[in-house]
């Protein structure tokens, strides 16, 4: 049913549904993943992202739909016959083998000489920065090193797709940030399609070319990181990716124009492009990112619009300060992030401040969405 043409996506998921008993684990998944892409499946735990990854790997069956890789239907093709390799969350390094034996494990059945296998394994180790570690015992490695061995072991087989199941979640923060950068570099170097499963939105934003956000077994939005951050399709996606402030509002139509009355901010015209779910005439929710607002200091005037607010809380991060401010007539605080500039004081809690906001940076959702 699928033919192999030039613009066939590398992986195509069509209408995938899966149940565990009564539990609907995957709901109508449709997804195309391109050759050479760094793709992320992002969502809270239990959203089905790992199940979806394991479906691509061949570890999970599905009730309906098609999984095709390079145009080939994968139904009935077991994991050991698929052009995919996986990096497991626990890394699954074989503890009874040395590092080099682990890396060369998948080459056991390859038609190449023993010397070539060793050489390929050594090259893979070098690629992940573990040159010379080959003869160490696998169970004596640190978390970061195990991660690298797992990568080398999967990459040595030159799979069409590398599947990564929360590969960085077991590492400490510093190591994780370092590995994020290394993974991006590695992916560019080898040109293999990476599919990453993560619950960490920051990780997904940093690493991916495209991200599919999943909730309850469904793909809520699939876009590149910038679109996802700037134009979330739903309030839930907006809330999950980064920080978004929400204010209640009402929208009315006037001579073909849409006017929103926003609690604490006042009236402004909004465009249809700002409403991902269609213009919600009537009760609505307005969202804005912390960095789209700025606090005005004495002598500064607003570049767009101005609203009074009371500073509720100050969180100082060194390079940044987060202010939680309360607009007039709003009972929950909104977060504003400000870059700290040399010579400018951090404002104190309880200060009556003026906030500069821009109508164009608002995203308008239906109230319930």
């Amino acid at each position: 049913m699928v033919d192999m043409t030039a613009d066939t996506p590398l992986i195509s998921l069509q209408n995938i549904n899966k149940h565990y008993g009564d539990y609907h684990a995957l709901r109508n998944i449709n997804l195309d993943i391109r050759q050479g892409e760094f793709f992320s499946l992002l969502g809270p735990s239990g959203c089905g992202k790992t199940t979806l990854l394991r479906t691509i790997a061949g570890f999970e069956d599905y009730d309906t739909g098609y999984v095709t890789i390079t145009g080939r239907d994968m139904r009935g093709v077991p994991a050991n016959k698929r052009p995919t390799n996986m990096v497991f969350q626990s890394y699954a390094i074989f503890p009874h083998l040395s590092v080099i034996e682990n890396v060369a494990f998948g080459l056991r059945k390859a038609r190449m000489s023993k010397a070539d296998k060793t050489q390929a394994a050594e090259a893979a180790l070098e690629m992940v920065g573990l040159k010379g570690y080959g003869h160490r015992a696998a169970h004596a490695l640190s978390g970061g090193q195990r991660q690298r061995v797992a990568l080398a072991r999967a990459l040595v087989l030159k799979p069409k797709v590398l599947l990564l199941d929360e590969p960085l979640s077991a590492l400490d923060r510093k190591m994780r940030e370092q590995m994020q950068v290394e993974l991006i570099k590695l992916q560019r170097e080898v040109g293999i399609t990476f599919i990453l499963v993560t619950h960490d939105q920051e990780e997904a934003l940093v690493m991916s070319d495209r991200i599919a956000v999943m909730f309850e077994g469904e793909i809520a939005q699939c876009d590149d990181p910038e679109v996802l951050y700037r134009n979330p399709k739903s309030k839930r996606v907006a809330d999950f990716i980064g920080v978004m402030n929400f204010l209640p509002a009402t929208v009315r139509e006037e001579d073909g124009r849409y006017i929103a009355t926003i609690a604490g901010l006042g009236e402004t015209e909004i465009s249809e492009a700002q409403c991902p779910g269609g213009v919600p005439v009537g009760a609505a929710t307005v969202g804005f990112r912390p960095e789209t607002l700025t606090l005005l200091y004495e002598g500064q005037s607003a570049t767009h619009r101005e609203a009074p607010a009371m500073i509720d809380e100050v969180v100082y991060y060194g390079d940044m300060t987060y202010y939680d401010v309360r607009f007039d007539g709003v009972d929950h605080p909104a977060r504003i992030s400000m870059r700290n500039i040399f010579g400018r004081d951090v404002l104190a809690v309880g200060t009556q401040a003026r906030v500069n906001w821009s109508p164009g940076a608002l995203v308008v959702f239906e109230q319930s969405a």
Partner: protein, 265 residues
Amino acid sequence: MKTLKVYAIFYLIFLYAPIFLLPLFAFNSSTIIAFPLESFTTEWFTQLLTLSEMHGALLNSLKIAVISALLATTLGIFAAMAVSRYSFPGQKGIMGFIMLPLVLPEIIVAVSLLIVILRIGLDTGAWSVIAGHTLICTPFAIAILQSAFAALDPALEEAAYDLGETPVSTFRLVTLPLVMPGIISALLISFTISMDEFIIAFFLTGADPTLPVYLFSMLRFPKLLPAVMALGTILVVLSILLITIAEYFRRRGAKRTGNDTGGFL
């Protein structure tokens, strides 16, 4: 606190004093098993070498123990895998049923096996002892192997499969080497249990007695009693040695897979 300490010490003496008396009398030159001790001798151990009937019993016991251990461990591997890798309806009930011989009185097992065998019209012999011993050893093998399989990350098997191996080669290359310490430990414990077992062997052994059964028959001859002591000493030392080796392997396996669950010592 102090009474508890005293109690604990008396408890241990009560448990182990008879076993310590065994070597004491085994090296005592008097034929009467009583204090005071006379002089040191190894005569009873050399006497063991001349008892050809005992050698037959020993060989019989070794044969039965080796075969029972192999059977119990093989069955144990299947059961432990079924429990740790799959879930199916009635799993808990079936497992409870398999583990039942652990608490079943051996005399009941022995008598019922004897009745069944005679009713079918078969003769008792080494094979019926093996059947009985496999029955009582299997739960021990399962308990040990279950901890070995539980300690094994299922992702390891998936990883091997993902890297192109078949389910069979995955078992051979990954599962088996990683649970091998558990398998060795299960073999040794089953072997020891079968070697020492008396009741089932007594009822089902037929014409060729096992070592414990032969030992029991020797008790009727006071002259041979010191030799029994000597044999008992050897058996105790061997048992302790085997259990220690079994536990060593189990712990080594647990250390390698990084978590220690279960075990008997």
